[in-house]
Structure formats: C-alpha cells, structure tokens
C-alpha cells in the first residue's frame, strides 16, 4: 500500500479515508518492536508495512525454533518422572 489516497471500493462500501489508514498504521507501528512506545511519526506507511512483514516472518521463525526446542525438551523429560510431576503440579 504505497499510496495513501483513498481507494474507490465496490458499490455499497464507503471510501477508505486517509485518517482511518493513518490510525491503523500507527496502531501497527506501536505493536512493532523497536523503540517501544515513542516511535516517531516520520516513518512512512510503506516502511511500517515492510517492518510488519519482517516482524511477522521473524515471529513465525521463532515459533518454529521454539517448537523445535520444546519437542526436544518434552522428549527428554519424560524419563524423569518425579520432577515432571512437580512441574505438572506447578503448572496445572
């Protein structure tokens, strides 16, 4: 979405206003990791989208890695039952 002009939609739907887009993009920007809450408003929409794409990709990658590690850990802890039962009682 490199243009910020409102796009004409099919009949029956209202036009997307610039304000709505700006609002949503700023909301996205706040979710991105980085300088935290004080992200400047100077980054354009396309930059925010780019960072969003890369952030989603990195999150997917992290889920993959974490599930790898979790599967390894889960397979090795089944042998130690006393500790596992302690953990189970703690969690559940």
């Amino acid at each position: 979405m490199s243009s910020r002009r409102s796009r004409p939609l099919s009949s029956g739907a209202s036009r997307i206003t610039d304000d709505q887009i700006i609002q949503l993009i700023s909301k996205l920007q706040q979710l991105l990791p980085g300088t935290g809450i004080q992200r400047s408003n100077k980054s354009s929409a396309s930059k925010v989208l780019q960072e969003t794409c890369s952030y989603v990709r990195s999150l997917h990658q992290e889920v993959d890695d974490l599930s790898d590690r979790l599967s390894q850990l889960l397979s090795t802890i089944d042998a130690n039952s006393p500790e596992a039962s302690i953990v189970r009682s703690l969690i559940i």
């Binding site: 979405m1 490199s2 243009s3 796009r7 939609l9 739907a13 997307i16 709505q20 887009i21 949503l24 993009i25 909301k27 996205l28 979710l31 991105l32 396309s46 989208l49 780019q50 969003t52 794409c53 952030y55 989603v56 990709r57 999150l59 997917h60 992290e62 889920v63 993959d64 974490l66 599930s67 790898d68 590690r69 979790l70 599967s71 390894q72 850990l73 889960l74 397979s75 802890i77 089944d78 130690n80 500790e83 596992a84 953990v87 969690i91 559940i92």
Partner: protein
C-alpha cells in the same frame, strides 16, 4: 492484558493466561495421542508447532478471520494434504523442509529480488501482497481489514511466542 511485573495480581482472563492453558492442554493431548508411532524429531516439532497455532486460533475463536482460517486449515488437514501431494508432483516445490503431509502453514518463498516493486493484476503493490501471504485468511479482505487483522495477529503471535519461551525456560531447568 496483565502487565508482566505483577506476580501477585494475575488477571485470569488475560490473553497470555488463556493461551498458556490452551497450549498446555494441546501439548498434553499430543503426548498421549500417538506417543510411540512417529517419533522422528521433525514430526514432533511439527506437531508442537501445530499445537501452538491451534491453541492460538482456538483462544481467539471465530472472532477474527485469521483464527477462522487457521482452525479451518487444521481441521481439514487431511483433505488439504491430498491436494498438496498432487500439486507437488506437478510444480517444483518452493519450500525446503516443510513438505510433510501435515504441513499446512505456508511459508513465503524467499523473494529473489526483494527490492523490486511488483504488483499483481489488481494493481496491489508488492508489500500488501507479501503481507497477505503472511497473515492467514487475509486474501479476501480489503486493505483496511488487512491492517486490522495484521495488528491482531501480531498481538496474538507475540503473546504465543512469550508463552512458549516461558515454557522452554521452565522445562529446561528441570
């Protein structure tokens, strides 16, 4: 959302707690269902990944299009796998190691020229298309809804990653 620095007052309805419960429940089911059948490492990590996405989608329920899409994909895994096997015979596979029968999470193939601005026949710019590929269930949405869905998806995904990190930490100190 409960702030992470208050261990005494935990909001039981926070997204993180709900995700944690659901994920643990799914993991338990995983372990008890087919524990000795296919224990190869890749299959196991793939099942854990499926449990993670399933728990994420289940907690959010049908409120969001992405969760509906994930739930639909998981529930129809067997049917989709048959279609995918036919596809793989025809086209060359783009993904490297997620080609197993149960793999429904599509990964974006790494673009060979990421800098070039490309657009699909509807005139959408390249970034929007990339975002649509990443966020599940976003192909039938207009641009405004896509942004909204992305924000919600990122929030849930980040919380799920946090839950998994905590679990890994917990399990690794045993």
């Amino acid at each position: 959302m409960s702030p992470p620095q208050q261990p005494t007052s935990i909001n039981p309805n926070s997204l993180k707690i709900q995700l944690a419960y659901r994920f643990l429940h799914n993991l338990n089911n995983l372990n008890t269902k087919r524990s000795n059948l296919d224990n190869t490492r890749i299959r196991r990590s793939h099942r854990v990944k499926l449990a993670a996405y399933a728990s994420m989608a289940y907690v959010v329920g049908s409120r969001r299009a992405w969760s509906r899409a994930i739930l639909w994909k998981i529930r129809n895994r067997a049917v989709l796998a048959r279609f995918k096997r036919v596809d793989h015979k025809i086209t060359t596979p783009l993904r490297h190691h997620h080609v197993h029968a149960g793999s429904v999470k599509r990964r974006t193939p790494s673009c060979s020229n990421p800098k070039r601005e490309y657009s699909d026949p509807f005139g959408n710019s390249g970034q929007e298309v990339k975002l649509r590929k990443l966020v599940p269930g976003s192909s039938t949405m207009d641009a405004l809804g896509l942004l909204d869905e992305t924000a919600d998806y990122i929030k849930c995904l980040a919380t799920q990653v946090e839950v998994m990190k905590n679990l890994v930490d917990l399990y690794s100190i045993i």
